[in-house]
Symmetry: C2
Subunit: 220 residues, 2 copies
DNA sequence: CGCTAGGCGGCACTCGGTGCCATTCGCCCC
DNA sequence: GGGGCGAATGGCACCGAGTGCCGCCTAGCG
């Protein structure tokens, strides 16, 4: 994650960076660098003025990029907030694969999600800002739901394999949705309690999976 | 639910209904009647041409209504598909209130959701069409998520009261999200299995709550 | 040195959604 | 019976997101 200072600096240099042309064949690394800067600048603007009050033109201008180019980096204004959710999905799938077949889905998913949610302390402020935006702006939250659909499919497939049933059956379907929903509930709780750090987040993930494992019928 | 034949008929009479003016103080019943017709016509068009290929102008014209008026009945093109979700929420809350305080949240929610999902056989085809649209079009699905947020708040409040804790704590937060997610999983499963009727739907709801109550750690 | 490929970005367009405002019509009161 | 009154209507203009098209510019290569 790019430190905020970078974003602030970029904001104060609109004209010079405006004319910067990487031009021609842009390498993949250059591409992600630009995307990250665009992202940092955007989050900065959203935090300052609010999501709705910032137009895509603003984002493009502040990032020193044409409006048309902005949409080549992000399919949607909403997706700027969501960031590298797809990378996290890949990590999730990879971790699920490392858990031996003998373990039940709850255990497997607990491991996988603990892994995915292992944030360094330096990344926590940016994460909180991002999640706050997701929670605050309904449209962004909705878009997150769309992106999480792929996670649900992955979890359903893994669970079905471990239970020895089809992924279309009720149990893996419900389990998959429930796991992702639980994670979003964890984020909400973590976000609303002040001063939660990375360790606290992982603890909450663990608790949530405890609940999913033993069920909600018993006492807390 | 208005039978499909009505919608088809309305589609073939654009000009005459165009000039129909209820005018002046439209009663609440007239209003819902118009909304329902608009809705039926829209679902018909969506089914024929696909959601994206139908513009709001099309919907308004087919419903014999100005474009501006259309947006007075539905806040969004997406919401036409979602229908009377808010009425269902009210029913949910009402049912939750009737369950005595002694019962645990899982039992209370089971009752409430069984109640809410009690569809007459006549309504099932329309329901399936609606749900199919929600499942197929990602944007609509996302919008459904936004609308369901109110359900989650209601469930969280109820669960917190029964557990004697705050609604901001982890358990009610996770439980609320999980319950709604489970219901959406139920819909998916029910929809994808051919020939499921209202009874089958309620059976799946029951099964899902069994899972939520006893947890996913044990065997199926 | 010219060619080409590919990123860039301006331009115009579509469509969803909103504010504004004149119109129209039912209803109530005079 | 007629004149407001209030509410729904819907036309119009406008904004912002997203897309297709196309000319431009630069790096790399023959």
């Amino acid at each position: 994650m790019i430190p905020i200072s970078f974003a602030t600096r970029a904001l104060s240099v609109p004209a010079s960076s405006r004319t910067e042309h990487t031009g021609g064949v842009t390498s993949a690394t250059t591409r992600t660098v630009r995307a990250r800067r665009l992202e940092a600048v955007a989050l900065e603007l959203f935090a300052m003025r609010g999501f709705d009050a910032v137009t895509v033109d603003d984002l493009a201008a502040a990032g020193g990029v044409g409006r048309r180019t902005f949409f080549r980096y992000f399919p949607t204004k909403l997706d700027v907030v969501l960031g590298e959710l797809d990378d996290a999905l890949a990590a999730l799938v990879a971790t699920l694969r490392t858990v031996p077949a003998g373990f039940d889905p709850v255990t497997a998913c607990r491991e996988a999600f603990l892994q995915v949610n292992a944030y360094a302390d330096d990344d926590v402020p940016a994460l909180r800002r991002r999640l706050r935006l997701i929670e605050t702006v309904p449209e962004v939250s909705a878009r997150a739901g769309v992106r999480y659909a792929a996670w649900e499919r992955a979890v359903a497939a893994d669970a079905a394999a471990r239970w020895g049933c089809s992924a279309e059956e009720l149990r893996p379907q419900v389990f998959a949705r429930v796991v992702v929903a639980a994670m979003r509930g964890v984020f909400t709780t973590w976000l609303d309690a002040p001063g939660g750090d990375g360790t606290r987040l992982r603890a909450l993930v663990g608790e949530a999976f405890d609940d999913l494992g033993r069920g909600f019928a018993g006492p807390g």
